[in-house]
C-alpha cells in the first residue's frame, strides 16, 4: 500500500477491529482510506457487521443515525479530508444527541507531501470540535485500541459524537515511488 509501517504499528487494525466487535458495532460505514484498508477488510469479512461503502462521508453520519433509531450501533471510518464533508449532517447528530463514533485517519499532517491535503488535514480537529464533536487524538500505534475503546464508551453511554483522530505518524508516509495510489 506504500505505507512504511513499523513492526508495532502493523497490529493496530486487528486490535481496533476487536474493540469494535467488543463494543457490539453492527454497521460500519466507510469511504475507503489506505490507513483503514486492513480494518475495512476485517469488517467486510465479518458475518455480524454490515460494511457499507459510501459515496461521501456525510452519508455515513445519516446512516448511523438511522442505525441508532433501529437499535444498532455503528462506526464511521474516514480519511481526514472527509471530516469537512460531514459538518451539516453532524448538526443533526448534535441536535438529536445521536451517538456517533468516528475513526479518522490523518493526511496533511506528519510527513505529508501533497500540499492539497494540508488545509483540511490541519483543521480537522478544530472543525469537528466546532460542531460539537469530542475529539481524542492518538499518535502511538499501541494506544489506538484503548483510545477507540474509550471513545466508544463515551459515544454510546453518553449519546455524544466522538472522533478518534489517528495520526499519520502511525499510518506511515505515502510512498510516491509505488506504481499505484491516490493522492
Amino acid at each position: 500500500m506504500g505505507n512504511k509501517n513499523t513492526q508495532s504499528s502493523v497490529a493496530w487494525p486487528g486490535e481496533l477491529f476487536q474493540v469494535l466487535k467488543g463494543a457490539n458495532i453492527r454497521q460500519v460505514a466507510y469511504v475507503p482510506d489506505a490507513g483503514h484498508s486492513r480494518l475495512i477488510e476485517l469488517c467486510q469479512a465479518d458475518q455480524q457487521i454490515k460494511a457499507v461503502p459510501l459515496t461521501t462521508e456525510e452519508e455515513g453520519v445519516a446512516q448511523l443515525a438511522g442505525a441508532w433509531l433501529g437499535g444498532e450501533r455503528g462506526a464511521l471510518l474516514m480519511q481526514s479530508s472527509g471530516a469537512g464533508n460531514c459538518i451539516n449532517m453532524l448538526a443533526m447528530a448534535s441536535e438529536c444527541r445521536f451517538p456517533m463514533l468516528m475513526l479518522v485517519t490523518m493526511r496533511g499532517e506528519w510527513g505529508e507531501f501533497n500540499p492539497w491535503q494540508i488545509p483540511m488535514g490541519q483543521n480537522v480537529q478544530r472543525v469537528l470540535e466546532a460542531i460539537g464533536v469530542i475529539v481524542h487524538q492518538v499518535d502511538e500505534a499501541a494506544r489506538v485500541a484503548e483510545t477507540v475503546n474509550a471513545a466508544a464508551r463515551l459515544a454510546f453511554d453518553t449519546s455524544r459524537m466522538v472522533a478518534v483522530i489517528i495520526s499519520q505518524r502511525i499510518i506511515g508516509f505515502k510512498d510516491w515511488n509505488a506504481t499505484q495510489g491516490t493522492p
Partner: protein, 197 residues
C-alpha cells in the same frame, strides 16, 4: 412526455400513510415533514428538520438495523437532489425492506418555490433505476398512485418512486421540533424499554 400535474401532495402522503401498517417512516426536511404530520402524527415517524440530503441514508441505516420491518422514506425533490449519491449506496446494499418516495413538486418549497433540477427534466426515477434499484416508478395519476402504494410495503427489494405533485403551498403543520425528543420517542416505539438501557 410532459404530463399535466394534478396530484395533491397532502392527499398523496395521506393515502400512502393510511396503508402503512407497522411501517417505520422517515421524512425529509420541510414540506414532507408537514405533509406527514398533517396525515396524523405517529411516534414511528422520524421527522428530519434539517440534515438536507440525509433522509435516504437515515432510512438505509434503519432498514439494515430492522430487517424484518418495512422502512419508508418520504422526502422532497430538493432534499434528495442534495444526496443523490445515497441512491447508489442504497442500491449497492440492496435492502429488501426499504422504499423511498419523493414528493416531487419541482420546487424548493421552503425557500420561495424556486425551481429544482426536476423542473428542467432531471428524472429521479431514472437515476434510481440506473443506480440499480430493481423497482423504480414515475407516478403522475391517481391510478398510478393506487398501483404504487401496496408495492411500497410489499416489494422484495429497494423501491423508489417519484410522485409528481402540484406546486402549491399549504398551511404548515408542525410536528414536535426537539430532535432528542423525536429520537427517543421513535426508539421507544420501535425498541420498547430497551431504548433506554
Amino acid at each position: 412526455m410532459k404530463n399535466e400535474i394534478t396530484l395533491d401532495r397532502r392527499e398523496v402522503v395521506a393515502q400512502i400513510l393510511k396503508q402503512r401498517g407497522d411501517t417505520l417512516v422517515v421524512t425529509g426536511l420541510g414540506s414532507t415533514c408537514w405533509d406527514a404530520t398533517a396525515a396524523g402524527d405517529d411516534p414511528r415517524n422520524f421527522y428530519v428538520w434539517g440534515a438536507m440530503g440525509g433522509a435516504t441514508m437515515i432510512g438505509l441505516g434503519l432498514a439494515l438495523a430492522q430487517p424484518t420491518r418495512r422502512v419508508l422514506v418520504i422526502t422532497g425533490d430538493g432534499e434528495i437532489l442534495m444526496g443523490l449519491g445515497s441512491l447508489a449506496t442504497v442500491a449497492v446494499q440492496h435492502p429488501a425492506n426499504l422504499s423511498i418516495v419523493v414528493i416531487d413538486n419541482e420546487r424548493y418549497g421552503e425557500t420561495g418555490m424556486q425551481d429544482t433540477h426536476t423542473r428542467s427534466g432531471v428524472d429521479l426515477a431514472g437515476i434510481a433505476e440506473a443506480a440499480g434499484f430493481p423497482y423504480s416508478a414515475r407516478v403522475h395519476t391517481g391510478q398510478e398512485l393506487q398501483t404504487l402504494i401496496p408495492s411500497l410495503y410489499t416489494n422484495d427489494g429497494p423501491t423508489f418512486a417519484a410522485v409528481k405533485v402540484m406546486a402549491r403551498s399549504y398551511p404548515t403543520v408542525l410536528p414536535a421540533r426537539d430532535g432528542t425528543y423525536l429520537k427517543n420517542r421513535f426508539r421507544e416505539a420501535v425498541l420498547g424499554k430497551k431504548a433506554f438501557e
